[in-house]
């Protein structure tokens, strides 16, 4: 018996943080989640699996384009034509989705109910599959606890959308423990919700396959599904990469670099390495520049120029297959900045003053309010609630302050900044 286990498809949800610019591989990345999903369908057909189990979050509930559902249904129909059954539990994202309820799904798709757990049996395969969907977006009780015990003589599979005992970066839904799962006597627990692949346990198998396509820089590495083979009572799993765009953070230590050419050269090497690892896929990359060196001044004085140069270099080094998501500047000068703070000169005063703002959130908020209010009023609300634009957040402001400090010191050093 062979089956695919996937979860968190989040069909049609957009890739985050990819600003468009000249040369960015916009076309190659278009519809990435759909193409990853298609890859899954093809994989199931190619591997001649007996069934596919989807452990929740087919699509995002807050973004209900019915076309998404129809596309999903088409994929399911393709599986149906190949005689592949699909077992689906709904997760927090698609729990309350009206879309899911109205969508006409082909007969090979079995949707688990949300009121109580249900067991579906395939006598031909000797398969008993247990599952329960989310009724609402936030299910806080332990669903697994109510799952029935294993059916003797069958291969028992539990499908569940859960955060287990909690996973960083993920809401704590349908919490449960390994002990509860173990107590059911199942052979395999097909979990969903957590976007990073994780084999939680092997006796019995408790597996998060991760999502099909990483959607932001925090979802790095290969993404896809599990191909599970059950043979003579032994289970083997294999992770199949299905993603179209791969996220990668390229960390570059600038220590010892004396000029920008060295930085670009090093970054180009990192890009090439990332491209090789991505196996021909598009790579969404974030450069994280850190360390102390002489290039600090160049980088701080004209960060936008550095971004442009890194983008151009990445395009060149990747043959147009890299999309620079962001450049995170964490470069420091040789000496600790607080050494500037001694003395009565303008530089020392500036550093002290910046430090005073950083130390005093009220003062900082007042300054921000005074200087940025005009702009904030114009920013759309859905953005100011997001992660990037929280200009009322002290940490965000401190970050900006740090960048402003770098920029000011660079400008005070004038053109003679670079030795």
């Amino acid at each position: 018996m062979r089956f695919l286990h996937c979860a968190d498809i989040h069909l049609d949800s957009p890739l985050r943080g990819l600003e468009r610019y000249e040369g960015a591989p916009v076309d190659q990345v278009r519809g990435a989640t759909r193409r990853a999903f298609e890859n899954m369908i093809q994989c199931a057909i190619r591997e001649k699996v007996d069934f596919v189990v989807i452990a929740g979050d087919l699509y995002d509930g807050d973004w209900p384009d019915f076309n998404t559902g129809l596309f999903f249904a088409k994929g399911m129909a393709q599986l149906g034509e190949s005689g592949i059954a699909v077992y689906v539990v709904r997760g927090n994202h698609d729990a309350a989705s009206k879309l899911t309820r109205s969508l006409p799904l082909p007969g090979n798709v079995h949707l688990f109910p949300h009121k109580a757990p249900k067991t579906l049996i395939d006598d031909q395969l000797g398969l008993a599959i247990h599952g329960q969907s989310f009724a609402t977006a936030a299910v806080l009780e332990d669903l697994a606890a109510a799952y029935p015990s294993a059916l003797p003589g069958y291969f028992n599979l539990g499908a569940l959308h859960t955060s287990l005992t909690g996973r960083p970066g993920h809401d704590n839904y349908a919490p449960t423990t390994e002990l509860v799962l173990k107590s059911k006597g199942y052979d395999y627990w097909a979990l969903g919700h957590v976007h990073a692949r994780e084999i939680v346990a092997r006796a019995p198998w408790v597996v998060y396959p991760g999502n099909l396509q990483g959607r932001k820089i925090t979802e790095q590495g290969a993404k896809g599904c599990e191909l599970v083979t059950v043979e003579d009572g032994s289970i083997t799993t294999e992770s199949i990469a299905l993603d179209v765009l791969r996220w990668s953070e390229l960390v570059i230590d600038v220590a010892g670099m004396t000029d920008l050419d060295a930085l670009l050269e090093r970054a180009a090497a990192e890009v090439r390495s990332a491209m090789t690892k991505a196996d021909g896929r598009i790579v969404g990359m974030r450069f994280r520049l850190h360390g102390a060196s002489a290039v600090h001044r160049d980088v701080s004085a004209h960060p936008e120029v550095i971004v442009e140069q890194l983008r151009a270099m990445a395009l060149d080094a990747s043959a147009g297959n890299a999309w620079v998501e962001k450049v995170d500047f964490r470069v420091r000068p040789y000496a600790a900045i607080n050494r500037f703070a001694t003395g009565d000169d303008p530089v020392a005063l500036l550093v002290r003053e910046l430090d005073a703002f950083a130390q005093d959130p009220d003062k900082l908020a007042a300054l921000a309010n005074e200087t940025l209010r005009d702009m904030q009023l114009k920013l759309p609300a859905e953005l100011t609630q997001g992660d990037e634009l929280r200009l009322d957040d002290v940490e965000v402001l401190r970050d900006l302050l740090r960048e402003a400090e770098d920029e000011l010191l660079a400008r005070l050093a004038g053109e003679r900044g670079t030795p």
């Binding site: 019915f66 076309n67 001044r297 530089v347 200009l391 000011l408 400008r411």
Partner: protein, 1171 residues
């Protein structure tokens, strides 16, 4: 921290240069002077390179490799410790220690970069130079910025303190950057545009997103429209089928009427039997057959009677038929019988002829046998063959014997001729001794060639040596060879010294030229500057002194009088000339002051130029002294050189020429050596030739030939000897060849004689065999082969004749037997068939029998034919009888079927049956047509037609037509509705438009976030910088301004007494204060004064920085070139005061600044380093 020493190890043009920076009581005020090109700027870069690292790309690596660049320093730290560090150009580990006492580099222990940067408070090059550096560009830019900023206090102070060229530009840049991103009331900023795009994308997303309800509606509408469409189509279908039904009825009605009529007629003749359609034809045929059968029977019976009478008249002899084959055989044998009977007499004659011939042959052979026994006489075949073979053998043996005899005679003649030739050939001489010695002297010719070559070479070498000697030396070659010469190294040393000297002289000369040119230029400049009125300080001072003097005079005279009235009187009494003179003096001094003020710069330059000229003249003097010193040095060196070259008797030799002379001398010595070795070889070759000659002579004499003569060359003698030896060798070879031919001929002759003996023996043997063979042929033993051949021929003819006789006797007996057997057979048959044979020969009887047989056979055939005819006629008669009976039966059957009484009634019945048939057929056709037209049973059609009439149907059809048209239009409309609904439903096809719009929106949001952050950063930076500027003013204005005012006053030489701050349009601005308390805004100051104001602010700030951060070397780069001497001196004094707080490195390439410093009162405080 301060520099105690700089190591310019490898940097720019410097190599291993150490610059000491001694500190006196103060931290040190070091004036580093380097004229143009001497490396002042390089040294400045070396200092900053040491402190902050040597830049990645530097122009200072033209002499040294990039990675060889080194600059080091010994630093004195705040705690009095000393630190010696070397900086190398590299990406990392650039610092390592130096042993200060030895200067050795400690390369195995690199120091961290922080070892130096920590000492600088972590400042980088830019910040350091801005805070602690002073240069002309910074000064001018700062001063200009003071003017543009109208002396706004906060910014002025901050700018001066931070060493910024333009604070205004920094803030403006930040504000511009922010404005380029976002304008609160605009739409052109990048963020404004991004926000606008975001809204558009949001709308696009809304437009493309398909809500679930939308899909449900579309689906429902599609379903409903489809259902409605279906219903209407059903209704239309019903109406159309009713229409069809009525049309069908309309078509059926006429047929149905005809059907009714026909059925009624058929009922009227229902009792008539239904005869087959061909009944009349059947009846006529039966009647015809009956008539034919009766006719045939009558004619057959008549023919039968005729045949029977013919058969009765025929006779046939059966016996002849029985022996037909024997009769035929005999008939065919008649010819053979007749031949046999006639050939017997010819055969008897031929036998007698042959017997006679045999008897004659026997007589020839000589044998007297009977004819019948003659066969025994024939010899066997083997004997015949043997005799043939012996005849052949005798021919061969005889021929061979004759051939051998011929060859023996030829060979004997040849040998005799060869012997005569041998006797005629000469005997050969014996020259073995000569031949042996030839080998050992074979190379004598080469030796002679070699000696001639050596003669030439020696002569050449000798000539060259003489020529070389003459060019090198005044004496003989022998003297030159043993002459002691100076060492080449001495020449090198002297050459270097001369070159160094020449270099120095050239430098002095060039310097002189440059100096003179510069001097000329300066003088021209001076002339230009001096054109027009030049007011110097001195002139102004003089004019003022004159004014003051006149005023004093006036005052004196005024005071001396003592009373107001008197004063008035005096005033009135002041002579007009005095007043005018005083006024003129006042005007003049004012004018001069004005001019001076307006022309300060020109005056400064004029002064500077004058000083420069003076300095140049001094330098020209120094140059002259140098030249004299160098002339003395040259004299000395030339004297020493003359001593070195004296032994060579060549006073004119220069060091370079000596090197050349020495190398040529060396070459001459080498050639002399070569010449000597050539001579030695010449002697050896001569000896070898003489030895070869004597050897040859000895050998020639020994062989009886003449010895060599004196005028004959060794090669000639050798050739003569060789010729003699070759002649002797040829004679010997000729004789040997002839003797060999004679020997071979004799051997051949012997062989031939032996062959002839063998042939003779074989002939004797043949004779024996021949005798025994011919005896058996009835010949004598001495018979020759020709006889034997004749006898063989006779035997052959006898044998042939015997054969012919035998064949003839066999033929005769065969003929006799044939005739006998034929007679017997014929008589036998004749007796059996009772044929008369009496008196007739057998062959005649046989022919008669044969003819009788033929007659009988003909009769027999006729009888057979008649029997066949009879049988046929009987059959014909019987057949006719049967056919007549059948025809009668058929007629009876027809009558029965027609249910009538006789054949005669049949035609009437047949006509009525045919009518009945036709009716039935038509009815059937009608039914079929109805069924075909309606595709259903006739009963259904009848049922459907019911009581419809044609008119009724037409009316109903017209109404229905209208109804159908209406319904059709309704169906069309419904169809369109379905199509539209389906399109709307199908449009929701799982497409990506909304997903892509969402992605675009996301990208747009990312751009907004980025731009917003950049904007926020720029705005925060700008706001904070403004705050810091004001804060700095608040904290430092008092002390900073106080100190700056003090410095400013000193640098302006009291032209200003200080500085103050006042409000102007709500801004605090900086003002200069004159000694008379007049306030001068920045805009009212001259460029020079403004420069000094900015410098005063900078110096005050630097002093303050040092208080805050501790002492750092202050680097001053050619700052004072635009100051006049007095202000420059004043500034140098201020700087020297600064050196009591921290080290000051003053770089300049202006000599007069150095001289000013050296002449000034703080001479002791200053240490000057000249590069």
């Amino acid at each position: 921290m301060k520099f105690a020493r700089l190591y310019l190890k490898a940097f720019g043009p410097f190599r291993d240069r150490i610059v000491e920076l001694p500190a006196g009581a103060s931290h040190g005020f070091h004036v580093v002077f380097g004229p143009n090109e001497a490396g002042k700027s390089t040294m400045l870069r070396a200092v900053t390179g040491f402190l902050f690292g040597i830049p990645e790309r530097t122009g200072d690596a033209f002499l040294h490799e990039y990675n060889a660049l080194r600059v080091g320093a010994t630093l004195t730290l705040a705690d009095g410790q000393r630190l010696s560090v070397m900086r190398r150009k590299a990406r990392k580990a650039t610092l390592f220690g130096i042993d200060e006492s030895t200067g050795a580099e400690i390369t195995d222990g690199p120091l961290p970069d922080s070892a130096v940067s920590d000492l600088l408070g972590g400042l980088d090059l830019g910040l350091y130079q801005n805070l602690f550096g002073l240069d002309l560009n910074g000064l001018v830019a700062g001063s200009d910025e003071l003017l543009r900023g109208e002396g706004e206090v906060g910014r002025s102070l901050f700018q001066a303190a931070a060493g910024l060229a333009s604070l205004r530009t920094v803030i403006a840049d930040l504000d511009d950057e922010a404005a380029a991103i976002f304008k609160p009331r605009g739409s052109s900023g990048r963020l404004n545009r991004a926000l606008h795009e975001f809204d558009e994308h949001k709308r696009a997303l809304k437009d493309t997103t398909v809500r679930t309800a939308q899909w449900e509606t579309a689906e429902r509408e599609y379903r409903q429209a489809a259902a409605e469409h279906g219903q209407l189509r059903e209704a239309l279908k019903d109406r159309r089928s009713e229409q069809l039904r009525l049309q069908r009825i309309r078509i059926n009605l006429p047929l149905l009427a005809e059907r009714q009529l026909k059925r009624e007629e058929a009922a009227s003749i229902a009792h008539i039997p239904l005869l087959s359609a061909d009944a009349p034809q059947l009846r006529a045929a039966a009647q015809e057959r009956l008539r034919n059968a009766e006719d045939a029977k009558q004619s057959a019976e008549a023919r039968l009677a005729q045949l029977e009478s013919a058969a009765a008249g025929l006779v046939v002899r059966e016996g002849l038929l029985e022996y037909a084959s024997a009769i035929e055989q005999n008939f065919h044998a008649v010819d053979a019988y007749r031949v046999a009977r006639e050939s017997v007499p010819r055969l008897v004659r031929e036998r007698a002829d042959l017997s006679e011939k045999i008897r004659k042959l026997l007589a020839e052979i000589g044998a007297y046998h009977e004819v019948m026994d003659a066969r025994e006489l024939l010899p066997p075949e083997t004997l015949l063959a043997r005799v043939e073979s012996l005849i052949d053998e005798q021919d061969r043996l005889t021929e061979r014997d004759e051939q051998i005899g011929e060859r023996i005679r030829a060979k004997e003649t040849a040998i005799e001729q060869l012997e005569e030739r041998l006797a005629a050939l000469p005997e050969s001489a014996h020259l073995d001794a000569l031949e042996a010695s030839l080998a050992s002297v074979a190379n004598v010719a080469d030796l002679e060639i070699r000696r001639r070559k050596l003669d030439c070479d020696i002569a050449d070498a000798d000539g060259r040596l003489q020529r070389d000697t003459a060019s090198l030396w005044a004496g003989s070659l022998a003297e030159l060879v043993v002459l002691t010469v100076p060492m080449a190294e001495a020449a090198g040393t002297f050459e270097n010294e001369f070159a160094a000297l020449a270099q120095e002289e050239r430098l002095v000369a060039e310097n002189d030229v440059t100096l003179r040119r510069d001097l000329e230029e300066r003088r021209r400049e001076l002339e230009v500057l001096a054109t027009g009125e030049i007011v110097t300080q001195a002139e102004l001072a003089a004019a003022r002194a004159e004014r003051d003097r006149q005023w004093a005079d006036l005052r004196r005279s005024y005071s001396a009088d003592g009373s107001h009235a008197a004063a008035k009187a005096v005033g009135a009494a002041i002579p007009h000339a005095v007043a005018a003179a005083f006024e003129a003096t006042i005007r003049e001094s004012d004018r001069l002051a004005d001019l001076l003020r307006a022309d300060t710069e020109r005056v400064t330059t004029l002064e500077a130029t004058r000083q420069r000229i003076a300095a140049m003249q001094t330098e020209a003097q120094r140059n002259e002294e140098q030249r004299e010193r160098l002339a003395g040095k040259r004299g000395n060196l030339e004297q020493q050189w003359a001593a070195v070259v004296a032994p060579l008797r060549r006073k004119d030799l220069s060091p370079a020429a000596l090197r050349d002379w020495l190398s040529r001398h060396q070459r001459l010595l080498e050639r002399h050596g070569e010449w000597e070795s050539l001579r030695t070889e010449w002697a050896l070759v001569g000896r070898d030739i003489a030895r070869a000659r004597s050897l040859l002579d000895t050998a020639l004499l020994a062989c009886g030939l003449t010895a060599s003569t004196a005028d004959e060359s060794a090669a000639g003698v050798l050739a003569r000897a060789q010729q003699a030896v070759n002649g002797a060798r040829k004679a010997r070879a000729d004789r040997d060849a002839v003797a060999e031919q004679i020997r071979a001929g004799a051997a051949e002759l012997r062989d031939l004689v032996k062959q002839r003996q063998q042939t003779t023996a074989r002939l004797a043997e043949w004779q024996q065999k021949w005798a025994s063979a011919v005896e058996r042929l009835h010949l004598t033993t001495d018979a020759v082969p020709a006889e034997a051949r004749t006898r063989l021929d006779q035997f052959s003819r006898l044998s042939t004749t015997l054969e012919a006789l035998s064949r003839l006797m066999e033929e005769s007996s065969a003929h006799e037997s044939v005739a006998t057997r034929f007679d017997a057979k014929v008589s036998d048959i004749a007796r059996t068939v009772a044929e008369t044979a009496q008196g007739m020969s057998s062959d005649t009887v046989a022919i008669r029998l044969y003819d009788a047989l033929a007659e009988t056979r003909s009769a027999d055939m006729k009888r057979q034919q008649l029997a066949n005819d009879l049988e046929r006629e009987i059959r014909t008669s019987a057949d006719a009888a049967i056919a007549a009976a059948q025809a009668r039966d058929a007629l009876h059957e027809l009558v029965r079927l027609a249910a009538c009484d006789s054949v005669d009634e049949l035609p009437e019945v047949e006509a009525r049956a045919a009518r009945k048939h036709s009716l039935q057929h038509r009815l059937h056709e009608i039914d079929e047509q109805l069924v075909q037209q309606n595709a259903r049973p006739v009963d259904d059609v009848l049922h459907e037609a019911g009581a419809w009439t044609l008119d009724g149907v037409e009316r109903q059809l017209e109404e229905l037509g209208t109804e159908v048209e209406v319904t059709e239009r309704q169906v069309e409309a419904a169809q369109e509705a379905v199509f539209g609904a389906k399109q709307r439903f199908d449009a929701i096809d799982g497409g990506t438009a909304a997903a892509e719009a969402q992605q675009t929106l996301q990208s747009s949001a990312t751009r907004i976030a980025k731009e917003a952050r950049t904007y926020a950063r720029a705005r925060l930076a700008s706001a904070i910088l403004n705050q810091v500027v004001q804060l700095y003013r608040e904290q430092h204005q008092g002390p900073l301004l106080a100190r700056a005012a003090e410095v400013f006053a000193r640098m302006t030489l009291g032209s200003f007494a200080g500085l103050t701050v006042d409000y102007e349009d709500d801004r605090q601005v900086l003002l200069g204060v004159r000694p008379d308390a007049a306030r001068v805004p920045v805009a009212g100051m001259s460029q020079g004064t403004r420069d000094q104001l900015f410098l005063a602010l900078r110096l005050a700030a630097i002093e303050q920085h040092i208080e805050g951060r501790g002492p750092f070397p202050v680097i001053v780069d050619d700052l004072l070139v635009q100051f006049d001497d007095e202000r420059a001196v004043a500034t140098l004094e201020v700087l020297s005061e600064l050196s009591s707080k921290t080290q000051v490195l003053f770089f300049t390439h202006h000599q007069h600044l150095v001289e000013l410093a050296e002449r000034s009162t703080m001479k002791e405080k200053i240490s000057v380093q000249r590069l």
